[in-house]
């Protein structure tokens, strides 16, 4: 398992339970990093993620998204 994958799994355990975080994705751009898919620009959530990322020296980005719904009718 790569370092970025380990960090994604750690981030998932830590932040995906939060209603405001919808997903955690590995970036396809350089430098390697994580993209947090969030429901809104909530400052406390953003700060909490940035603090976590800072401690681990990892680059993070945020993308505001809606809700992912199972695409059955």
């Amino acid at each position: 398992m790569t370092q970025i994958e380990n960090l994604r799994l750690e981030a998932k355990e830590r932040f995906l339970r939060d209603d405001k975080v919808v997903g955690v994705a590995e970036s396809m751009d350089k430098p390697a990093g994580l993209i947090f898919l969030v429901r809104s620009e909530s400052e406390p959530v953003r700060r909490s993620i940035q603090d976590w990322a800072h401690d681990r020296h990892i680059h993070v980005r945020f993308r505001v998204v809606g809700e992912f719904k199972a695409s059955g009718a």
Binding site: E5, E26, S27, M28, E67, F68, K69, A70
Partner: protein, 336 residues
């Protein structure tokens, strides 16, 4: 999808015209004369765009020409002149062939998807007998080691999120499109249980159903054609394609991430945490698939199956899809 080797300048001219006509200019130029003529170019563009239906490469790759399909009415000649002027400005060596045409319409209903189809195929509507949310896309036809034909789709389409019994009826079309017990096409054979507690990892949302009468289902995906399993284990870098009963045309997308952990809501049931998923952004429309397309197969530009659609995001149309290899391995089946 292009399968022939065309000269580079012809491909570039094709992309230029295609993007320009759809108002998505992607080219960059430092040609001063181009900017000087910009006012004229805008006029030509406006005239040509109104009549534009499509652009095509010639069948013979040696022909130094592009085919432009323009709506056949009184403005067609002026639009042809404008298109020629636009192309001459950037690609003076390419000849333009103008083909007047009518309007192309999606073949929904008359060509399957939401209608009852026999034989049915990938992209057509299917669903579990319980109905409700259990309606989505026939992903594609697969075959087990005994040569039995099975329909591949999502658990929430064929197995109603575990609220099922093996052997339950699968209808084509699904109840969303008026399917009933008269439209039974298969019986639920197997499914990967889905945990919707918002905490447990799910690696797929998938199920298979055994086709009652092999003559009632056929390989391939409607509007896309025959499909094969992708040979290269690495995900493709080019565009991705999908069609399903709701999209009713081919939608184009591109990878946003090749590995993501996602919360997916199953309305009225709960949240499923989907692990190791693809994220795909739409390229040619508001969304990469729609609610009702679940189970649709995502293919690359060579019609090789890449993933299966699981969920669509409701603001920007981003989609979650599961790598197809994982699903085929789970059920020990091969794409037919």
């Amino acid at each position: 999808m292009q399968r022939f080797q065309y000269p580079q300048h012809l491909n570039a001219a094709f992309s230029y015209l295609s993007d320009l006509m759809r108002d998505r200019p992607t080219f960059e130029t430092t040609d001063f004369h181009y900017y000087e003529k910009a006012a004229g170019a805008d006029y030509y563009k406006n005239v040509a765009q109104k009549q534009f239906v499509g652009v095509a490469l010639p069948l013979d790759a040696d022909e130094n020409s592009l085919i432009v399909l323009l709506r056949d009415d009184e403005s067609q000649k002026e639009a042809a002149r404008a298109t020629r002027a636009l192309l001459r400005n950037q690609f003076p060596e390419v000849t333009l062939v103008v083909r007047p045409v009518g309007e192309f319409r999606t073949a929904v209903g008359s060509a399957g998807s939401s209608a009852r189809m026999r034989p049915a195929m990938g992209g057509d509507s299917v669903g579990h007998q319980n109905g409700g949310n259990a309606s989505g896309s026939f992903g594609c036809l697969v075959e087990d080691s005994a040569g039995r034909q099975l329909i591949l789709s999502c658990n929430h389409v064929l197995a109603d999120v575990n609220r099922c019994n093996l052997g339950d009826a699968i209808w084509q079309p699904g109840i969303r499109y008026g399917g009933s017990s008269r439209d039974q096409i298969a019986r639920l054979r197997d499914f990967e249980p889905l945990t919707v507690d918002g905490a447990t990892d799910n690696f797929m949302d998938a199920a298979i159903a055994l086709v009652d009468n092999p003559a009632d289902a056929m390989p391939g995906i409607r509007r896309i054609g025959s499909v094969a399993k992708r040979q290269d284990p690495a995900p493709p870098s080019g565009p991705l394609y999908l069609t399903g009963p709701e999209s009713a045309s081919i939608v184009i997308g591109e990878f946003y991430s090749r590995s993501a952990s996602m919360n997916v809501r199953h309305p009225g049931i709960g949240i499923a945490v989907m692990e190791h998923q693809y994220l795909i952004d739409p390229q040619n429309g508001p969304s990469f698939g729609k609610l009702g397309d679940s189970g649709a197969i995502v293919v690359d530009q060579d019609n090789e199956a890449v993933a299966m659609l699981v969920a669509v995001e409701d603001k920007h149309g981003m989609a979650t899809a599961t790598p197809i290899d994982r699903i085929l391995d789970r059920f020990q089946v091969a794409i037919k």
